[in-house]
Symmetry: C2
Subunit: 323 residues, 2 copies
């Protein structure tokens, strides 16, 4: 009963945009304790009707491209324009050992002081699936707390980037001004997922190279698959140092979202995302159940022995276990 | 019977280091047809006793760092020294749409002409787990064909990097000469996994910056977790353009491996890797079985509907399905 009262309080606090309640709600969602999981799910289901109104934006790019300074500069503009902004993160390195590539501690100190901005570092978990679930659920709580813009940040190439692209409306990739071979590598990485490419650090000595990079991206996008809502990805120049390019970026973001909303593409996109998320959850849960079964655990120990001794092929052993 | 005769022939061909047989064997391992899977597993189990002697080396680094030119220059030296070299790849972008970041087609044309070198592009599959399994099994076939050095290449940060680090003896990361903030980002990404860091493009204008980068890495490694065999990771300067630094790199690689072999760490490392691989396989198979069950499929359709309509929390729906 006590915990249910807590839940009533937590729900009311989040709906009233109380930051402390929101932080406690996210901690509950991130908790690995079994009892907490049930409570967290009840909290989320209660709040679901209050979600879905925010614009969800993913920001990706390799270490060193300046994601933090970009998000800080962007966030301050959004707040000044009357928006309420939540910044979340998915850091794949947190699944290895708890070390963090994004290094949230010292980041975005100015933005963090804004009343209308809520910044939360990447959750840690043993799998990328676990990290992604917690971030998705945290973003739902932020929406229920009335944040109208959710930025989800991640690092460079790989599965974490795919995971973030699969939980946002607009996926933006930051790129360095580049040339020659570098450009080829960057282009291939970006073409699949990006709705917007920001060529960052477009200032000083790098400005002319940034222009060439953006031009190359635009040519490359001509041959990319069409996106939902008929969107053609764009490349823009931004300098966080000089505060330039943010108006163009925000306008492009608005146009992308407006396009998705006119023909129902946004609803369809979000439905598909939830469907894929369900599958990811099922996969994680199946593995948990499997390892908790006592009979299977014994057979598993034998299979592990044969496999680690190198007498059995791994794929064959896994198939035999499941037969 | 016909297929069994084929298998005898394939096994004999691979053991005799016949390149065409090896290529056919890998195609069998990469095949998604159910019948092929059984044959592939039988082939692998027959060849297992002939595996395990090769040195397994992972090469990672972001797009544009020059992995191809590094591997080509390294490979030509290894071949000249009498080694037989197989180059395999794990390209995470191939799981999205078949597009490739590594862009194997035009790469390593000189090395590909060498009789003692075998180059195979990244397999494609619907999941990173699928790509990784195929690459692991392809590397076993290469070992059975007498290749004494297996290089497995992948791109930058993320789960594909973790996957490759988990299938090699020595994991090497290529980094750009960098400074300031960039350096911080690169360092955090590298510290967890790298046994050796190659600061690449250490020539011309970038040489002094490369020296600083290597020095920074070395300082950072002082605080990194100790590696198996008591190894302390190293950072080295290499220029593929000028052909410099390869002797140092190969010496460091030999020392790393020698250290792992003296105290049994190499065996222990490989046993652990096979154990984790077994778990990955089990997870993939469970999801396959689940989606093939007709009763579950119907319930799944209902859950998908509720979730995609936004009336049910995804985590709660997944748990209800598995209850």
């Amino acid at each position: 009963v006590a915990r249910r009262l807590d839940l009533d309080q937590l729900e009311a606090g989040i709906r009233a945009a109380d930051r402390a309640a929101l932080a406690r709600g996210i901690t509950l969602v991130e908790s690995a304790r079994p009892g907490d999981l049930d409570l967290a799910q009840e909290l989320i289901e209660r709040l679901l009707p209050a979600t879905g109104q925010a614009r969800r934006v993913g920001i990706s790019g390799p270490p060193g491209v300046g994601k933090s300074s970009f998000i800080e500069a962007l966030g301050k503009r959004l707040v000044a324009a009357g928006h309420r902004l939540a910044v979340l993160a998915i850091d794949p390195s947190s699944t290895v050992s708890g070390g963090s590539i994004l290094g949230d501690k010292a980041r975005m100190t100015d933005l963090a002081r804004e009343e209308a901005a809520f910044i939360r570092p990447s959750p840690s978990a043993t799998s990328l699936g676990g990290v992604a679930r917690r971030t998705r659920e945290a973003s739902l709580l932020c929406e229920a707390a009335g944040y109208d813009t959710i930025l989800i940040e991640t690092v460079g190439v790989g599965q974490s980037e795919v995971a973030v692209a699969d939980m946002v409306d607009s996926f933006c990739v930051l790129a360095q001004p580049a040339s020659g071979d570098e450009l080829q590598g960057i282009k291939r990485g970006i073409l699949e997922l990006a709705d917007l490419v920001v060529v960052h650090k477009a200032d000083g000595d790098l400005l002319s190279r940034a222009r060439i990079t953006a031009q190359e991206m635009i040519s490359a996008f001509r041959y990319a698959r069409p996106r939902p809502g008929g969107w053609r990805p764009r490349a823009l120049l931004v300098s966080s140092l000089k505060g330039e390019g943010f108006e163009d970026f925000l306008r492009a973001l608005d146009e992308h979202r407006a396009g998705l909303m006119t023909d129902g593409s946004l609803d369809e996109l979000r439905r598909e995302q939830r469907r894929r998320w369900l599958w990811t959850e099922i996969r994680e849960l199946l593995a948990e159940r499997f390892s908790a079964d006592p009979v299977l655990r014994e057979r598993l120990a034998e299979a592990e022995e044969a496999v680690s001794a190198g007498t059995r092929s791994v794929t064959a052993a896994a198939r035999a276990l499941l037969a």
